[in-house]
Every structure is written in structure tokens, then in C-alpha cells.
């Protein structure tokens, strides 16, 4: 393997320590590039303020830059940071519709390549995403669904799945996990770990609560755990709707301050291991990281049969699908596809039966699906590293 490491790689996205789904992916990717000997920087959309910092990691020093005047997308910071640090390529791992094209072009004029690693989470893709992709020197997307949609709309992309650290997210003893999390031992627990940023909610909280009500009527010793880190004004009123449905006593919602400010990856691992199954029938997903994280812990997943989610579970073996009953045109100018509550319920029963009849095999199959297909070390070694070395040879030919 070529050991030349001349390429200076700058990522743009959630700071690696901020505990969002994107930050986790940034974290594992950046650490592995550092370990390979590359110089790496990050424009941190969240988590760094006022001045750049050399953030020491066991794998090497990560140069981190703060946002400047565009805290949501770091358009200007992308340019100034690339110029200050001398980046050869910048890889934004965000929804790129918000990046100001003027700053993309300014960055490219430095000679820095613009290579988005982006989710495509709707059909058709959001027009703003397609608009900004015309400036991309390469495109990488998270799923085959995204790759297909891009091709249908004029763009060729590489496809590198997101993944999980299978050595960290491992199956634990459920009893021990529930003791640590102080959750009931003798109950069937559905888990949701999902952002609550809008209404109608992208993560289908309303439909999940309605389906869970029917499920809990049939299985009284069941609970629904809902952990939400991101909450915005205008989000879905989960507790109020549970009150309205009369299932408040069936809901487990971790302390919001703890979940938002103090929860760590270790907490996520424990919670996932507490669940019997994950409930994740989003109306739109660019990937659906929690879906693979849960399976890595041996837990089956209920997902919506749309977008990338179809690629992440094996129906009947590692989970089951709900199906959408309607599309609505979102303010992102694309369709979201709402899961039908009754189809969620039917899939809940399917997973319940799977676990009752062959629980151990389900756990083995879930784990195997992730080890075989979504192992970050494998994805890095087989996809990212050869790709970046080819790119290095193209941008910085040997001997120059």
C-alpha cells in the first residue's frame, strides 16, 4: 500500500465530540485518516468557537476551525480555513443545500477540491442539493438509494456506507444493561433514539405512538423508550400526544438535560442494549445510523420501507418494514413518505414473534449483518483509503 501521505484533508461537519450521528461518523473517519498518517482538519459546524485549535487525539492532532458568520453551514469558514491550513480537498459531511455557492467557488479557486459526502434522503432529491452539486469535483453518498437518485438526476457518485465501530457497539447482557439504565427487567421495550426537530416529525413520532398504543394493548408489559437529543421549537409534542392517547405510563423518556448535555456513546450503547428492538420508521432517511448501531448490539429494527432504510436490514431476519401510506411535499421541495401506523403495528408484531420464536438467532443475524456490511474498519480499508490514495495521485502526482 502506498505510504505517501501528502494530501491535506479537511472535513466540514459536526465537531467530532458533539455526539450527533454525523459527529460520530466524522469521528471514526478522521481518527482513521490520522492513524494512516494523513494531515486532517475539521471545520466544526458545532463544538468550536472563536479560534482554531489543535485538538490532540490518540491517533494524532486534529486541527479544528470554528464557524464564522454562517454557523449552520460554515460556508465562509470552509474557505478561510482551507486557505489558512492549505487544504487540498474539503469534504463536507452535511446537507449541502445550505452552503453558499459563492464560498464553494472561492474555495475551489484556492485549488482546493470540493467533495461532498452527503445523504440523499428523498425522491426527488432536494433541488438545493442538486444545485450545489454542480460545483462538486467528486461526490460520495451514503446509500445505493442515494446513488441511484443522483444518477437519475444527472450526477455520478461514489457510494460509501456509513458504518459502526463493531468493537465498541457490541451486544451486552440485557439484564445488566437495564440495571445500569434503571429500566424494568420484565418488560418488552421498544426504543427510539431520534431527533425531534419539526412537525410533522421526520422520525414519525405520531405514527409510532399510535402503533405502540395498539401494541401495548395487546402486550401490556411493554414500554416505549424515546431519547431525543435535538429538540427545536415547532417539534412534535411527544408527551402531550402520549397523554392524549392515554399511554403516558408506557413511555420512558430520559432526562432531557442529561440526554442533551451529558449523554456519551457509552450511554447510547447501554440504552441500545436495553431495548428488545429499535423503532425507526422515519419518513425520510439519508442513511439511518441508529438502525445499524442497534443491529451491531444484536437488536432487530423496525424501519420504513423507503429510501436508504431498505438497504440496512434484512426483512424477517434482522427486522421488519412498515410501509408508507402517503407522501407529503416538504418545505425542502421533495417528498417525505409517512409510515402507515397500522403497518408499523403489524411489523411490531412480526418482530415480537421473531424474538419470541428465535431470539438468539435474530441477535446473531443482526450482528452478522453489521459485521459483514457496515463495519467502519472494513469500509475505511476497502472504500475510503484506496479512493483517497487514487485522489492523492491525481491531485498531487508523484514527483511533483
Amino acid at each position: 500500500m502506498d505510504k505517501r501521505r501528502d494530501l491535506k484533508i479537511m472535513f466540514l461537519g459536526d465537531g467530532i465530540h458533539t455526539q450527533s450521528g454525523y459527529s460520530v461518523q466524522m469521528d471514526w473517519l478522521i481518527r482513521r485518516f490520522l492513524l494512516e498518517g494523513f494531515q486532517v482538519a475539521q471545520v466544526a459546524k458545532a463544538g468550536v468557537y472563536n479560534h482554531w485549535v489543535n485538538f490532540p487525539l490518540p491517533e494524532g492532532n486534529l486541527r479544528m476551525y470554528p464557524p464564522i458568520n454562517d454557523p449552520n453551514f460554515c460556508s465562509d469558514s470552509m474557505f478561510y480555513s482551507a486557505r489558512h491550513w492549505g487544504a487540498h480537498i474539503v469534504i463536507p459531511m452535511i446537507d449541502i443545500w445550505g452552503i453558499d455557492p459563492t464560498w464553494i467557488n472561492n474555495t475551489k479557486q484556492l485549488g482546493c477540491k470540493f467533495i461532498p459526502y452527503l445523504p440523499i434522503d428523498s425522491s426527488p432529491p432536494t433541488p438545493g442539493v442538486l444545485r450545489n452539486l454542480q460545483f462538486a469535483d467528486r461526490i460520495i453518498t451514503f446509500s445505493k438509494f442515494g446513488q441511484r437518485e443522483l444518477k437519475r438526476h444527472g450526477y455520478i457518485a461514489e457510494m460509501f456506507y456509513e458504518g459502526v465501530d463493531i468493537n465498541f457497539l457490541t451486544p451486552m447482557d440485557k439484564k445488566e444493561a437495564r440495571e445500569k439504565a434503571q429500566l424494568p427487567q420484565d418488560a418488552f421495550i421498544w426504543g427510539m433514539i431520534a431527533a425531534n426537530k419539526e412537525n410533522p416529525p421526520r422520525k414519525a413520532f405520531q405514527e409510532c405512538l399510535e402503533a405502540f398504543k395498539v401494541f401495548s394493548d395487546a402486550h401490556p408489559k411493554s414500554f416505549l423508550f424515546i431519547g431525543t437529543q435535538q429538540i427545536s421549537q415547532g417539534s412534535f409534542p411527544i408527551k402531550d400526544y402520549a397523554d392524549y392517547l392515554g399511554i403516558t405510563d408506557k413511555l420512558i423518556i430520559p432526562d432531557q438535560i442529561y440526554f442533551s448535555l451529558m449523554a456519551t456513546r457509552e450511554d447510547i450503547k447501554i440504552w441500545l442494549n436495553c431495548f428488545d428492538a429499535l423503532l425507526h420508521p422515519s419518513s425520510t432517511e439519508g442513511f439511518g445510523l441508529t438502525i445499524v448501531e442497534a443491529q451491531s448490539c444484536g437488536k432487530p429494527v423496525l424501519a420504513n420501507k423507503v429510501h436508504s432504510m431498505q438497504e440496512l436490514i434484512v426483512d424477517g431476519k434482522t427486522g421488519a418494514f412498515a410501509v408508507p401510506n402517503r407522501k407529503f411535499w416538504s418545505n425542502a421541495n421533495s417528498y417525505w413518505e409517512q409510515p402507515d401506523p397500522m403497518s408499523i403495528y403489524i411489523a411490531m408484531e412480526k418482530i415480537y414473534q421473531m424474538l419470541r420464536d428465535k431470539g438468539q438467532q435474530v441477535a446473531i443475524d443482526c450482528r452478522k449483518n453489521i459485521v459483514d456490511n457496515f463495519n467502519v474498519d472494513m469500509i475505511f480499508k476497502e472504500k475510503w483509503l484506496p479512493w483517497i490514495l487514487n485522489l492523492q495521485d491525481e491531485i498531487l502526482p508523484k514527483g511533483n
Binding site: 475551489k108 426527488p124 433541488p127 444545485r131 452539486l133 454542480q134 462538486a136 469535483d137 467528486r138 461526490i139 443522483l150 444518477k151 437519475r152 438526476h153 444527472g154 450526477y155 455520478i156 457518485a157
Partner: protein, 285 residues
């Protein structure tokens, strides 16, 4: 005594370093895909030097096609004008066949029309020429001096309010002035109030210019030919009705640098690789 004219000139322009580089790439692709072209035609590259020698001014930049063509038609029977920001992919020899004044290519397809609206608010059109009929100035074949003289008469300072200037005038002449016109991509579906003589095009399975733009990700490479399969795109903008072999692709979109730099995100790997070979100086792929 009248001087016998030479049969054919291919007109390329490379004004300024960026467009000179584009022109060299376009000509490399032309020669690779039409290996005997130089036995049939003179390839005439107009650079800053020729532009100034001919008395070119800032205003002439706005209508280089008729201006250079007027000059060339003194020596040649037919001029094929090819924009520098194009890649020639196939045999172009059928474009000058037939008895016509001008042969033209289309400016749009369903997806390009949408892109034009997004960029400019309205699709590109002039007078009552429908946007889907409007022709592009990037690939024009001209045999008639009368046509060129007529074209130049429009190119006045008073007419600068026309958004696309020389291209708008090309459309006015094409659709309203009773010239013999050959449509290389496809003819207007409805002639309505247009006044022209359509010269039949026997070579209808080809796209020459912008008719494929926006659908390039679905182009396939087959026996050194690029083919846009029928019904490419999505359900709302599926295009075209039949498989089309691409003779040329045109980046267009105004005066931008790096127009040839995005091949990797626009075309499948094998197609991008082939296109890079076509525009390179090298002979092997």
C-alpha cells in the same frame, strides 16, 4: 475571374487563455473522433492574434460567429462553427450534407429548460420561438452568405437589449425569414407561425449539442460511441423518446473557468475516462 472556393472550414475560437485551452481540447476531440477531418476541411482557430488582425473590437466579441463566418465564407463554401467548450464525440460529416442555408442544433431538453428557469427566471426564447424549439449558437453550419449578411444586420448597438444577442438573431433568422434550415437534433413539433423551409435530415438518431445536457449521468459507452438511452431521467423529465448517439456535448452556461473539470461527477467512470482521453493530447486510452 471568380476564385474557386475551398469546400469546408471548421471554425473554432480561442479568445483569451481560458477559451484557447478549451478550443485546443475541443479540437483534440474532433480530430480523434473524425480522423480524416483534415482531408475534408480546414480547421481554422481564431485566437486573440487573428481577432485583432481582423480589426476585432469589444463589440465583435458579442457576435463572433457571424463575424468570423463572414470572413471565412470569402474562401470557403461552408463553415461549421463549433464552440470551444464542446467535446466532439462522433462523426460530424453528415452535418454539412444537403442543400440548406443553415443547419442548427437545439438549445434545450426538459431538464435544461428547468435549469434555465432556475438560473434566469424564464427559459431562453425570443419573440414567439418556443423554448423547446429555440436553437443554440454553439454548433452552426452555414452555407449562405446572404444568411450571414442578414445576421450581421441585426448585430447593432441598438439591439443589445436582446438577452442572447447573436443567438437570438440566429433564431429570428431561422424561424421567421424563410431560409432553408436543417435541424440536426430534431425539428419543431408544431411549425405554427414560423416562416422557414425545413430541409429533411436523414440522420435523426443523433444529438449534437445541448440536447443531452442534464442527462449525461445516464450516457453509456458502447463501441466508442456515447449513447443516451431512451427514457433517461426521472418520471417527470424522462428523455429522449429513442436512444440517441451523441455527436457532441456542450458545457455552455456562460463564461466560466474549469468547464471540463467536472467530468467525474457528470459521467459514469468509463465515459469520463473516454472523454478525458478525447480532450487530451495523448493518443492512447
Amino acid at each position: 475571374m471568380a476564385i474557386k472556393k475551398k469546400p469546408l472550414a471548421i471554425l473554432a475560437t480561442g479568445i483569451g487563455p481560458v477559451y484557447l485551452d478549451y478550443a485546443k481540447k475541443m479540437m483534440a476531440s474532433l480530430i480523434k473522433t473524425n480522423p480524416d477531418i483534415q482531408t475534408k476541411a480546414d480547421i481554422v482557430l481564431m485566437t486573440d492574434k487573428e481577432f485583432h488582425e481582423l480589426g476585432g473590437t469589444q463589440d465583435h466579441m458579442l457576435y463572433m460567429t457571424p463575424w468570423f463566418t463572414k470572413h471565412l465564407l470569402k474562401t470557403y463554401e461552408c463553415v461549421v462553427r463549433i464552440d470551444s467548450d464542446m467535446i466532439i464525440i462522433g462523426d460530424i460529416s453528415s452535418c454539412w450534407e444537403g442543400d440548406f442555408d443553415v443547419a442548427v442544433v437545439n438549445n434545450a431538453n426538459p431538464r435544461e429548460l428547468k435549469a434555465q428557469i432556475n438560473m434566469m427566471g424564464t427559459p431562453v426564447a425570443v419573440w414567439t420561438v418556443k423554448p423547446e424549439d429555440y436553437v443554440n449558437c454553439g454548433f452552426v453550419v452555414i452555407k449562405s452568405e446572404k444568411f450571414v449578411d442578414h445576421w450581421l444586420k441585426f448585430c447593432t448597438p441598438e439591439n443589445k437589449m436582446y438577452r442572447m444577442y447573436e443567438q437570438d438573431f440566429l433564431n429570428i433568422l431561422t424561424f421567421y425569414c424563410d431560409y432553408k434550415v436543417k435541424f440536426l437534433d430534431f425539428e419543431p413539433k408544431n411549425m405554427g407561425q414560423y416562416v422557414l423551409q425545413v430541409v429533411p435530415n436523414e440522420d435523426k438518431d443523433k444529438f449534437w449539442n445541448l440536447a443531452s445536457k442534464g442527462y449525461w449521468s445516464e450516457v453509456i459507452l458502447k463501441d466508442k460511441k456515447l449513447v443516451l438511452p431512451k427514457n433517461s431521467g426521472s418520471e417527470i423529465d424522462a428523455w429522449p423518446d429513442d436512444d440517441k448517439t451523441l455527436v457532441g456535448i456542450h458545457f455552455a452556461g456562460g463564461n466560466l473557468v474549469g468547464k471540463f473539470d467536472q467530468l467525474d461527477t457528470q459521467f459514469e467512470k468509463d465515459v469520463a475516462h473516454y472523454l478525458k482521453y478525447l480532450i487530451s493530447n495523448g493518443q492512447k486510452t
